[in-house]
Symmetry: C2
Subunit: 508 residues, 2 copies
């Protein structure tokens, strides 16, 4: 009842200009901004029971019913918020020009699984050629998702070009090993925080399917040879390198020991399973922050290097990385490595993708330049470490970064695959991870998804605020995007207060 | 079922030392640390149906049934987590020495409402004089709460000295006026974000009662004459000062205009109602950040000052503050002001409490010294602005601050009433406020509650982590306290992962 009275009260005010703030109003912005968009002044009335119809010539892609159901629920949820008795929702005060009851969806072909070459394009026409018509044409399922998303965010006419959308899942690290392997069960049995703190293969497959229904790929990272402390107990006594002090093992351990064939065999066994579970054509091999001190101290390694004519520790690192790359090749995977592998001079093949994560303050440009100059594809993560929090509005800094801004050639720019908004786990868990990611990640999303020219923080401010409020209405606890000054239209609040103890719905 | 199997698995491990991390274990720490505590090596078994019994000679304070119910639920929730079939919970592997089935509670007298002089002391004896006995003796209801809280956090023998626990509610500000006054309805009608974004008097009374049941006072702050933009529309055309430019009002407004009697009348009407609603003997009058520029520009004010022999704007500020203090006096309230009122040389009475909030980097010490030297009571807020977030563990910085550390005399130290952990609202709402407050506020709580000597961050680290995990188990989304290194016992994780979408219970 409170919602209904809010709308009545809004209408009863004889002069809204008397209020300190004007009534909250959705402007129907779409976030991220589509590549091309034409908005006319006419608005249509939308029927609460809007139907989605797949044209007869379209293939029956298996995820379409689920997509239709989700967006029907989402569109209907707008009606629930407005009024329990209203069957029609007017999106604007303008006069109607036909009631929209159907969205006609045409698909060219089914791709079934998100992939590197997935076609996400679509065109959407609302109110044209006739006022009650909506036509959505998509190359594949993913364009249907994006088209319905944009429609739901209230846009009339969109043309869209393909882009990538990936969950890069850094699933294990030095702190714990939660990936519950069935072929190497000791890794998680001994390496997880507790037996409850694991991801079973069943759960992982659920996540991958949830992502697939939304056009999102899932790329796993098993970071080696560093960042592997938690692998130790399950990996066995020869797995991690014992560090020496005064000629004796001192009890501490370093990176994986690259001189034992057993360790490569273990990784092959693991990756063979991972290949079956994750399915994506890409695998992230890690390779960051490999300290050489422990290797240097270890007598067996010293002996091995002498025997095999290795003179530097970068060469030892290369031995391990090459081993991982060989496994990836055999499994027909593409692979990504962190920048140190490249910067340390480890010999890597041309198709290796290098992820740049250091030099937040700006020197990432040098690394991007070097990586692409040498012909490697690059992913930029450095300026978008969402885990690095600070007081105030920080997403504007994310928003204005342009990944190709490193004075490279047009050829080099083509090698920039995209970017990554990282939420590292040192200080987040179920209590705060969603709030810390959203809406700040949305600023990065627009940078990577929309046109390069869409980079002015000013207009982005209110659009992001509106998008944030929509996320809230869908049940995602996205935190305030901007502060709450009394400067129209820079409102930080949303029309409906969020109740953390009464928020069980989730409409994504 | 997952919880039960976790415990079985824990027992099945033949050698827990094989695991990367030892099994998670509660050590039964109490946070904040009581003033005096003796722990013996013996532990008792606790019965799930533990009863609380009020001794016959104790008065029947009205909130006791609610306290007993809450702590019974809380204690029983430990059993639910451990096992659905277990009727007894063993808190330690040691042999039992009698089963605890009853806590005998003795109260000296009922105070009914939290107040400045509330007596919160208690003594608690567990397993003495006989193994199955627990005796809790409290001066008033509040000691029963604290005693049961400590018991639930697993301590054997405590002696407690009184302390304060207050919600300082800064309920209105320049951004909006959400306090729904019944005598001055236009203030919120025109000044709130939306008609939904209000606190009704009914809701406020609910909050005050919720707090009372937990021994917490609620002190409101109506901050004037600055920070009042949102009061403008409801306050009327003479309320805020019109700012002048080139001899004409320029449309913008400044602080409340202190030259009109109507404005003092409005405040008296408001405070009379506030006095009925809030009941606490204290009222916070605000008085921070009053800019003088708008007053300076206003021709009417210039004329007024000339006519009334006022030569400085601090004197004008004093005129307003004096007006507010007069109202407070008439309502028999004690009052608090922000430091600027003192620092600006506004003449204030001896009983005025000054809250110090500036000089975070350390110069607050000078202000605390000046305030107490002049005989005023002081509250310290400066070093504990929880809204100022940064990457990493910041609560250790809060923990080591000692409010009396300003080289004052013993007399001055007695004037330090306590401190305040502030969560200002610019960037928080229902999505993230609980996470941002807890557990960081707990570090401040121990500083203000426990003995001065309890100030070593090292031991505090694991104790705070344990307390954080208990808050989580009670349904409060307290975020990670420390990071997740693999260094025992500095664990950042908790035994049961927190699910933000399935967390409707709240056991506080």
């Amino acid at each position: 009842m409170k919602f209904l009275s809010a709308f009545l009260l809004g209408n009863a005010l004889t002069n809204a200009a008397d209020r300190f703030l004007p009534p909250w109003q959705y402007d129907g912005t779409v976030w991220p901004l589509p590549q091309s968009m034409t908005v006319t002044q006419e608005f249509q009335i939308l029927d609460a029971n809007i139907q989605f119809v797949l044209t007869p010539e379209s293939p029956q892609c298996d995820i379409i019913p689920d997509i239709f159901q989700r967006y029907q629920d989402l569109i209907r949820s707008h009606f629930k918020i407005a009024s329990s008795s209203s069957k029609k929702l007017k999106f604007s005060a303008s006069s109607a020009a036909g009631i929209i009851e159907t969205i006609e969806v045409k698909i060219i072909n089914c791709e079934n699984y998100p992939s590197q070459n997935m076609n996400e394009s679509y065109t959407l026409q609302v109110g044209s050629p006739t006022p009650e018509k909506v036509e959505l044409t998509a190359s594949a399922e993913w364009g249907v998702i994006h088209g319905l998303e944009s429609f739901t965010q209230m846009i009339h006419n969109i043309d869209y070009r393909p882009s990538m959308n990936i969950l890069h899942w850094h699933i294990v690290d030095l702190q714990s090993f939660p990936y519950e392997s069935q072929v190497l069960p000791e890794l998680s049995f001994l390496g997880s925080y507790t037996p409850l703190h694991v991801y079973t293969i069943h759960e992982i497959k659920d996540i991958i399917e949830f992502a697939r229904l939304r056009g999102v790929r899932v790329v796993p990272e098993f970071d080696t040879p560093g960042h592997t402390d938690a692998w130790g107990p399950g990996g066995g006594p020869k797995f991690l390198t014992p560090c020496y002090h005064n000629g004796e093992p001192d009890g501490s351990h370093g990176p994986i020991n690259p001189i034992y064939q057993e360790n490569y065999d273990l990784m092959r066994k693991l990756f063979t399973e991972v290949n079956e579970v994750f399915r994506d054509s890409y695998l992230h091999l890690g390779g960051d922050e490999v300290p050489f001190g422990c290797w240097k101290s270890n007598a067996d390694i010293t002996a091995y290097m002498a025997k095999n004519n290795l003179t530097t520790y970068a060469q030892l690192e290369q031995l391990w990385v090459q081993g991982m790359v060989d496994i990836a090749h055999d499994l027909k995977k593409n692979y990504v490595v962190w920048e140190e592998v490249f910067v340390n001079g480890v010999k890597i093949s041309n198709e290796t993708v290098v992820e740049v994560w250091k030099g937040r303050s700006g020197t990432w440009k040098d690394t991007m330049n070097a990586v692409t100059k040498s012909g490697h594809k690059a992913i930029l993560a450095s300026p978008w470490y969402l885990n690095i929090i600070s007081y105030g509005v920080d997403w504007e800094g994310y928003y204005v970064i342009e990944p190709t801004d490193f004075n490279g050639t047009a050829e080099q720019n083509k090698l920039v695959m995209g970017g990554s908004a990282a939420m590292w786990g040192e200080f987040v868990d179920g209590t705060n991870i969603l709030q810390r990611i959203w809406p700040r990640a949305s600023a990065v999303a627009e940078r990577l998804w929309s046109d390069k020219s869409v980079n002015q923080p000013g207009p982005a401010r209110w659009r992001l605020n509106e998008w944030r409020c929509k996320m809230l209405a869908r049940g995602l606890p996205a935190q305030p995007a901007i502060q709450n000054p009394n400067v129209n239209p820079n409102f930080g609040y949303c029309p409906y207060p969020f109740d953390p103890f009464n928020n069980a719905h989730y409409l994504f």
